[in-house]
Symmetry: C2
Subunit: 174 residues, 2 copies
Amino acid sequence: MSNAAKDDRSADRTTVREGEIAVELPATTDAALYFIGRIRTPWHRRDECPKNGRESDAVCTVEVDPRWVEGLRGLETVSHVLLLYWMDKARRDLVVQAPRHYAEQRGTFALRSPVRPTPIAASVVRLVGIDGNKLSVIGLDCIDNTPLLDIKPYFASTDAVPDATVGWHAGRKR
Amino acid sequence: MSNAAKDDRSADRTTVREGEIAVELPATTDAALYFIGRIRTPWHRRDECPKNGRESDAVCTVEVDPRWVEGLRGLETVSHVLLLYWMDKARRDLVVQAPRHYAEQRGTFALRSPVRPTPIAASVVRLVGIDGNKLSVIGLDCIDNTPLLDIKPYFASTDAVPDATVGWHAGRKR
């Protein structure tokens, strides 16, 4: 998650800044989600959160609902996990965005902003330990009590692309 | 996605194999999704799909609904993208699974199986080109016409962990 992710739109979900484009959302939804737990972090407001997950060594806690706890069996052998979580405070109708700290506007799918039609974040975190239904992890940047959607083992063989580049971002401070 | 992902449960969503554990799903859902497009691949049945995304050089097409197409602005500067998509044929109630080709059963969250409470896949693919609302990508392993949920730029700085390990999987053929 880049700086853009800190651009909190929770207080105002209707204003469109210069250069931004909002679309009408579809009349109906297509699928439904269960929250499977909550993510506990030290950060209670968006402006308290680290700029991205690698900027903090804080140990955060992923609390899995008791219903799903047996799903953790075997996860203790994994060094890193991919967490999917629901950014429930973000508006979903912007296709072009102008984050405050960037000069240019960009398409939603070129950004890691929480503002997107599917407000789901994907974060790679280091797994420190598991105690019952609680995972201790390092590498999160989200606000406390964020709804959890999924936990996946991170496979370097398919998930790691160390030489990947983001042209528009090259040379910027993150 | 490992071999486990090929374990098609679409034909039978109620059978529980020896050692598997199903739970009762929650009575209500917590959030709703819009499909933002479709993924077109050469594979029409699960047993035709590659074992994982790195096992095929097939160029696949990500078709974004016209409503969202301006969201692609700036994405052409990106080498790799993270795709989230909806595995709509998978059951959601298994917490412990016994994939046919593994000796042991494992928790859902230790597997990349599509069978999970949130049946969303996260795949890293190479972006070959963009033409209007269509992205050409390499590195997918999903079935044709899979519903698309999100496109994100892949940042090596936060998404790549080349030395990550999955203990239970070490030494296995994938």
